[in-house]
């Protein structure tokens, strides 16, 4: 009696195993199920042999499942007819069939696990290497949480569901067909009667889940608002306390919580009756077989053993029917997941092409922007007819209010984005003709939000140049006054940074990212508000390091603090995507224009 056959891994909440579906829940569907499925199949093509083996094992399992009750009925008949000599032989046959069936189940599970894990690995790898080569613009405009969830949940869901659900769908269909055939072979009238209970099952499931869907949706919505309240109020607890709102919040919470309980009870009473109703139908099937079977047996149409076989068969074919609907829903939601994954893979990767290399250019290249215009969203110009020439070794400061287009200039120079019109030249060559790898190799960038990796300090520094020796690395760190800071960390250069580098201070984070830029020995340096996240006195230590970094380099500095700007060779004031003024600090102050205004509101603490 292979009752347990399908009660597999899914009961163990293994991340990756297919999740038990809530009958009441809505199933999301893929927009183009067929296309997605075909593309999905491509991932399984290299698994042809494994899939064949899997299906073969499924088939073997089903055949055993159908044969075993037949043998069992013969054994019962042997007892009824007092033909005891036959019993050992029959039982031996059954034992063999059971053994084969278990072996098949084992191999089936094994192949299914191997296939799904190999595909998950491949798919995730493909997706990652695609994401990492997407243009910055894609990642800027899409929620990171969403991308992450496609990477983990969707991929997982897709490959495991496909390999597991499809095999259980296949075995379910085979079992139903085989069992029904066997039943009709044994006793057509009894078979017809027990099939009729299936109709009840289908009808009851359909009716109940339709009714449940509504109440479940209501409960889900209330649960959402309850969780929202808890998150908000516990998260903003300081504000709750500061305004003595505890009682008010508790009252609010009580109201939602009571409502949720009401909705929950209504939903669950329907859901809870599912079990007894199914039980009722199964038992009715049992009675039909026992009573009618008994009647037929009395008439001599069938033997007693056949009744016992029917009891097993009825169970065996009721289960897949109940399951098929669920599995079908899972396959659909997996396809929807696959569609989301493929949507990312369909995005065109970043264009990194370019025939020239920076090494073909003069060692201290100049930079020129000629009539560059750009918009992130069509129709909303961020940069308009921007022209600027930066001579080799010059330090340029870009200043302006938020949204004036400072960072856009950097984004374009790095080829993170492509200008709508106009050209940017480095060393006289259009940067579109320089391969972006080579271009980026020549430029180092220090950002406002330092990005450090959960790795050792050493590896973080060497990120800029993996081939650098320890001595060189330390020399660089020393040159930009970071060495002593690093040595004061717990394990010096071997200190392991936690995720988000939260185990070192903001100032230390920024110092590390400066040292990293230093190690890359760039020809061009970009500092994008590199010190805005640290307080002013820490900034002064960082300032020293930055000065060393800027020495003898062509620099583009986006700054919001006066101290960084005063030493620039040229200050460019941006206003709504266009250059408003250029000049040195003194010159611009005298002009009494935009810069003067900016200076007064942003920098001059006591310029009253």
């Amino acid at each position: 009696m292979a009752e347990m056959q399908k009660k597999s891994i899914s009961d163990y909440k293994l991340p990756g195993a297919r999740r038990p579906m809530n009958r009441g829940a809505e199933t999301e569907k893929a927009k183009d199920s067929k296309g997605t499925f075909m593309r999905m199949l491509r991932y399984f093509t290299c698994e042809k042999r494994a899939i064949c083996l899997l299906l073969l094992m499924v088939l073997l399992g089903v055949v055993c499942g159908i044969l075993a009750p037949r043998l069992q009925s013969s054994a019962i008949d042997a007892i009824t007819q007092r033909n005891f000599g036959q019993l050992p032989r029959l039982l031996c046959c059954m034992a063999i069939i059971y053994a084969v069936s278990c072996l098949a189940a084992y191999l089936q599970g094994r192949e299914s696990a191997l296939i799904s894990q190999r595909t998950v690995k491949q798919m995730r790898k493909d997706l990652f290497s695609h994401i990492i080569n997407l243009p910055v613009g894609y990642l800027d405009t899409h929620s990171h949480g969403d991308i992450m969830s496609r990477m983990t949940n969707d991929v997982e869901n897709v490959s495991t569901t496909i390999s597991q659900s499809l095999s259980s769908l296949f075995s379910g269909l085979l079992t139903v067909c085989g069992t029904v055939m066997m039943m009709f072979l044994l006793c057509p009238p009894l078979a017809a009667l027990s099939c009729s209970t299936v109709l009840f099952t289908v009808f009851a499931t359909k009716y109940l889940s339709a009714a449940m869907r509504k109440t479940y949706a209501k409960r889900q919505a209330l649960l959402g608002s309850l969780n929202g309240t808890v998150e908000e109020m516990v998260g903003g607890y300081r504000t709750v306390v500061a305004y003595e709102k505890e009682q008010l919040i508790i009252d609010d919470f009580t109201k939602i919580s009571d409502e949720l309980t009401g909705a929950g009870i209504r939903a669950e009473i329907l859901g809870g009756s599912m079990g007894p109703v199914m039980n009722l139908i199964n038992n009715t099937g049992f009675v039909i077989i026992a009573a009618f079977g008994g009647y037929f047996a009395f008439k001599g149409a069938i033997s007693v053993g056949i009744i016992s076989a029917f009891i097993v068969y009825a169970k065996q074919f009721g289960r897949p029917i109940d399951e098929i609907a669920q599995v079908w829903g899972q396959v659909q939601s997996a396809l929807a997941g696959a569609e989301r994954v493929f949507a990312v893979m369909n995005e065109a990767p970043e264009d990194k092409s370019g025939r020239k290399k920076i090494s073909d250019l003069p060692p201290q290249p100049d930079i020129s922007f000629a009539h560059v215009s750009f918009s992130y969203v069509p129709g909303q110009r961020v940069l308009t007819d921007f022209s600027l020439h930066v001579r080799p070794g010059q330090k340029i400061a870009l200043v302006g209010a938020t949204g004036s287009g400072k960072t856009t200039v950097v984004n374009l120079l790095m080829r993170f984005y492509r200008p709508d019109s106009g050209t940017i030249r480095v060393g006289g060559t259009d940067i579109m003709d320089i391969s972006s790898d080579s271009l980026r190799d020549a430029i180092a960038i220090v950002l406002q939000d330092t990005v450090l990796f959960a790795d050792t300090v050493r590896n973080n520094l060497k990120y800029a140049d993996p081939d650098i020796s320890d001595e060189e690395m330390i020399a660089c760190a020393r040159q930009c006054h970071v060495d002593s800071t690093i040595r004061r960390l717990e394990n010096g250069y071997d200190t392991l940074l936690s995720a988000d580098a939260s185990n070192i201070s903001r100032g230390q984070q920024q110092l590390l990212s400066i040292a990293r830029a230093f190690i890359s020995k760039p020809q061009i340096l970009i500092l994008d508000e590199a010190t805005s996240n640290v307080d002013t006195r820490t900034e002064r230590r960082i300032q020293d390091a930055m000065m060393r970094l800027m020495q003898d380099r062509t620099c583009l500095v986006i700054a919001h603090r006066l101290s960084t700007i005063r030493d620039a060779d040229l200050i460019v004031v941006l206003d709504h995507g266009a250059i408003a003024e250029t000049g040195t600090h003194e010159e611009l102050l005298q002009q009494n224009g935009k810069y003067h205004e900016l200076y007064m509101t942003q920098f001059a603490g006591q310029a009253t």
Partner: protein, 576 residues
């Protein structure tokens, strides 16, 4: 926690009672079937002549029993639901009530995230556990015990099969689960690693590209991915042995029952109908046994949640009302008397701080990150209690006030402007729910928020997105300030709450504040000198102690630290 269940004890008892009905009916079926076979078909007690009437009667009896069983089942479900959900509701409300009375030190200790999980997820877990205990567990137990009794009543020798099969099944299950379970935490770790690499690459995408490390990152990801997949595979393959082994055990027991049945039938000790019934009982029993294994897993998960909830419910609020009932008239004076403070279990952040703020005075507090500024002002509304010394408001120790009386005379705009997912109007009115429209707009105007509120399509009725994501940092701060201003308390505290405003807006804000709400005592915590230079006095905090105190001019003339800060903020132009 049991006391929460006591209220619904009636339902909690009715549920298993009715379950007894449902499961009992299930247990009767195989016996009745054996009657059909033995008496109706084979006519064993009638000399081998069957009787269709017996078949018919027994069939009808079975149908009636089934209907009764289903009715019991549904009722049991209803009662179990009522008991479990109401229990969960009370538990949830109780836990939330407790949390709302915790001190900040206590919420820090639990961490916000963990408190949220406890009220939401853990309550659901415990509720599910209760529901399962009074319904599913009872059903399984009845089927298990009842099935065994019924089977042995058929013939004692069947019991021998159970005696061998059941322990074997349990041991197998236990062995597998105990080997697999530790792997789950490894799996979680591996999953975190993959997510971490992913997160770093998505968020730090510019840096990866700038240093041309795409290939390296792909490699790094592959390694993490490989590890995750191999751990997962290991678990899957291990579990994959379990099902076939359990199946073979079950099937062997089945064969044994038929064989023993056959032997006994030969001696006329059992009838063929009994053998059939025994086969059905056996499946029922062994399936129940396996479900039991799964349930124990759920129960252990539920118990862990129950423990986490008990921690919340049994935690006594640390900061409670003080004894004084004769509260002094409000004036707005604050005194720190030799105050030292440190967060639980860590070294002191503030050391021996003493100063007095007179009614109507404006005090600026300046200091680096980590100098203890925020900790200092949190002692005034008793967000935390001092470690040593005392904080006095209007001459009375803050610990002696009833909490509401103390906090009603203090308005704070916090460093992290926490806004709620409601309309702008409700967010501002949070400061004073009774305020009329004019007062709301006046507060908004004072906080320099009028302009951007009017610019919104829905004005005051604009809904602020979750955690204020729809607003810029400066806008959030201005709303938080409007809220604090509206409260119109004697003491107003700004905890670095203007850091995202430009100097022009900030100075207009202070000007408006002076004209609209004069006579207030104000404490302004800031990093920028510009924010505090107009204060009556400025305290410079360094390493948890007062390093300097005086007006802007005095400090500029006499305090080297202040001069130093000045220089760093204005690029050397310290002469104003």
């Amino acid at each position: 926690m049991l006391k929460h269940l006591r209220k619904y004890l009636l339902f909690a008892l009715l549920a298993p009672l009715f379950m007894l009905g449902e499961a009992g009916m299930d247990l009767l079926q195989p016996t009745l079937m054996s009657t059909i076979v033995d008496e109706g078909v084979l006519g064993l007690s009638n000399g081998g002549v069957g009787d269709p009437d017996i078949v018919l009667h027994t069939g009808i009896k079975m149908i009636l029993l089934i209907l009764a069983g289903a009715a019991c089942g549904i009722l049991s479900g209803v009662f179990a639901n009522i008991a479990a959900q109401n229990f969960g509701n009370d538990l949830r409300k109780d836990a939330f009530h407790h949390i709302m009375h915790f001190s900040l030190a206590q919420t820090d200790r639990f961490t916000t995230g963990s408190l949220i999980t406890r009220v939401t997820n853990d309550v659901t877990q415990v509720q599910n556990m209760v529901q399962m205990a009074i319904r599913g567990f009872v059903r399984t137990m009845i089927l298990l015990a009842g099935g065994m009794i019924c089977m042995m009543r058929l013939h004692l020798s069947f019991g021998a099969v159970l005696l061998i099969a059941m322990p074997l099944l349990l041991i197998t299950m236990f062995l597998f689960l105990s080997r697999v379970t530790p792997n789950f935490s490894v799996l979680q770790k591996r999953l975190d690693d993959v997510n971490n690499v992913m997160q770093e690459n998505v968020a730090g995408n510019r840096v990866v590209k700038a240093y041309i490390r795409e290939a390296y990152e792909t490699e790094r990801f592959s390694a993490a991915n490989e590890k995750l997949v191999s751990t997962q595979l290991q678990i899957l393959l291990l579990l994959n042995y379990m099902t076939p082994i359990m199946n073979i055990l079950m099937n062997l027991s089945l064969l044994a029952v038929i064989y023993i049945g056959g032997l006994n039938a030969q001696r006329f000790a059992v009838s063929p109908g009994h053998v059939m019934a025994a086969v059905t009982y056996l499946t029922q029993i062994l399936n129940a046994l396996m479900r039991m294994g799964m349930m124990f897993q759920n129960i252990s998960r539920g118990m862990a949640s129950a423990k986490r909830l008990r921690e919340v419910i049994h935690t006594v609020a640390e900061i409670t009302d003080g004894p004084r009932t004769d509260i002094p008239l409000s004036g707005g004076s604050i005194e720190f008397r030799d105050v030292s403070f440190g967060y639980a279990g860590r070294e002191n952040i503030l050391n021996h701080i003493s100063f007095t703020v007179h009614p109507g005075e404006t005090i600026g507090i300046l200091g680096m990150t980590g100098s203890g500024k925020s900790s200092l002002i949190q002692l005034i509304p008793r967000f935390y209690d001092v470690t040593e010394g005392a904080v006095l408001v209007d001459g009375v120790d803050v610990r002696d006030y009833p909490l509401a009386a103390l906090r009603s005379r203090i308005a704070v705009a916090l460093q992290k402007s926490e806004l709620f997912h409601r309309s702008i109007r409700e967010n501002i009115a949070w400061g004073d729910p009774s305020a009329d429209e004019d007062a709301l707009w006046q507060a908004a105007r004072t906080a320099q928020a009028e302009e951007f509120i009017t610019a919104k399509a829905d004005g005051m009725d604009t809904i602020v997105a979750q955690s204020g994501h729809s607003l810029s940092g400066g806008q959030k701060q201005r709303l938080a300030i409007a809220r604090a201003v509206l409260k119109n308390a004697e003491i107003l505290i700004f905890d670095d709450s203007t850091s995202a405003l430009d100097l022009k807006t900030e100075s207009s804000l202070y000007k408006a504040l002076h004209t609209a709400y004069s006579g207030q005592t104000r404490i302004i915590v800031a990093q920028r000198i510009a924010s505090v230079k107009d204060a009556d006095r400025i305290l410079v905090l360094e390493d948890g102690a007062i390093a300097a105190c005086g007006s802007h001019e005095e400090l500029l003339a006499a305090s080297p630290i202040y001069q130093d800060i000045c220089r760093s903020q204005t690029g050397g132009a310290a002469n104003g």
